[in-house]
Symmetry: none
Subunit: 228 residues, 2 copies
DNA sequence: AGGCACCCGAAAAGAACCTTAAATGCCAGC
DNA sequence: GCTGGCATTTAAGGTTCTTTTCGGGTGCCT
């Protein structure tokens, strides 16, 4: 679920866009002034900002520059001003895209999606840390730590743990694992999974009889829980 | 210096754009057909593709989809077709931006720059000094030093090390390397990479069995870490 | 008790990887 | 256009690590 900060002072336009974007599965934060927008971004950076020009409090270029002073968040300018000068200036001031009203909400969504697609990779890079209790799984470095100590997992073990750590407390079936971790239809036997789970348990310093993090759920699958 | 692949069949428009883009310091490869463009990209991936619709040989949507099958290169659609359907479809098919003729070359440049800015973070900004532990990679002089001593790397070795040094501690896949360092789709084999890594390790005074900086992550790729 | 699901040690089977050496491609200078 | 040198890629063999298979075992549930 992506979070969109919508900065638009015309209530009618704002309402229409909120509706269109929400329909498409985005979480929208609608605001009417540049100052509110800056404050909001300082507190929590959204996945993308839609910025109207002609806000009541601040000139668009100034608002954009201040925003850029805070963060590198993707920004789409959506405005009625279509003069060439304005387009070029704002793009050069750090905007990612510029759409001119009237535009269809469909086009705006397509442009948002395109921009998110382009930025997605970076997000992965920056936020690849999963934590469950004293367990840390760093997807970027591909290192898993228990209480700060590197577990020295190999590929399968790491992928397995990462998959579980991404879904703490929920039961994962063997079928899920074959599909998502092994990425194939037929693994000869569930034995295969069991063996890898066993290796993983050993490295975690636990066993099936005395589980701390990695619990078996009989007849269903496995579950990674924070101990306690 | 960024490299732009310009796919445009109208000779007059092509000439004008080549001129405008070259003036702005871009290296431009102008081509007139989609087939030529695909061939060119398969051989060497540019920094950005400007794609005209209405090419003589292939429908724009088809061309874009085939291009996306090969690579993730940023694509700007530049065309006279301004109907909503076309805009939305192509953005959803993987285009990054869509500008409608007639557009000013200034606006095109601004959009190119915006897109490169958004994409660039991964590439080396060839203006700086990367440091990882006792390793220095000077992108401007293209010199790499270990504890102050010049390693005497050749082109590939340098690019490889620079790419890794720009992402310390993160695991980089062979696929990333083929795409971003070799910049082409078909490298006969991963062997190629292995061999260059081997040369690089030798010059770094280490080996796969006893890595200091350059670690293999089996089944995934490589990782440059600060030793210790 | 008997069936089922699961656990785990050991060892075979299979990939991935490293290195050296030879072949190929590319460019500069003649 | 040829020739030699350098950089890069392909090829081959060996090594190490990973993954799977096998088989005996344990414990839960009906």
């Amino acid at each position: 679920m992506h979070e969109i900060l919508l900065v638009e002072d015309d209530p009618a336009v704002q309402a229409a866009l909120v509706h269109a974007l929400t329909d498409r599965g985005f979480a929208v934060v609608p605001l009417g002034t540049a100052v509110d927008a800056l404050r909001s971004v300082a507190e929590r950076v959204p996945d993308i900002v839609i910025l109207d020009l002609g806000l009541p409090d601040l000139d668009g270029g100034a608002a954009l520059r201040m925003l850029r002073g805070i963060t590198n968040v993707p920004v789409i300018i959506a405005t009625a001003r279509s003069d060439e000068r304005s387009v070029v200036d704002l793009l050069n001031a750090g905007a990612d895209d510029y759409v001119v009203k009237p535009f269809s909400s469909e086009q705006l969504v397509a442009r948002i999606t395109a921009l998110l697609r382009r930025t997605a990779r970076h997000d992965d890079d920056d936020s690849g840390l999963l934590e469950v209790g004293g367990l840390q799984v760093d997807l970027r470095q591909r290192v898993a730590r228990l209480d700060g100590r590197d577990l020295g997992l190999n590929r399968r073990e790491f992928d397995l743990l990462a998959y579980l750590a991404a879904r703490p407390n929920s039961v994962v079936t063997r079928r899920d694992l074959i599909h998502d971790v092994w990425r194939q239809r037929h693994v000869g036997d569930d034995q295969t999974i069991d063996v890898h789970v066993s290796w993983l348990r050993r490295k975690l310093g636990e066993s099936a009889a005395h589980p701390k993090y990695l619990h078996t759920v009989r007849g269903v699958g496995l579950k990674l829980v924070a101990p306690g």
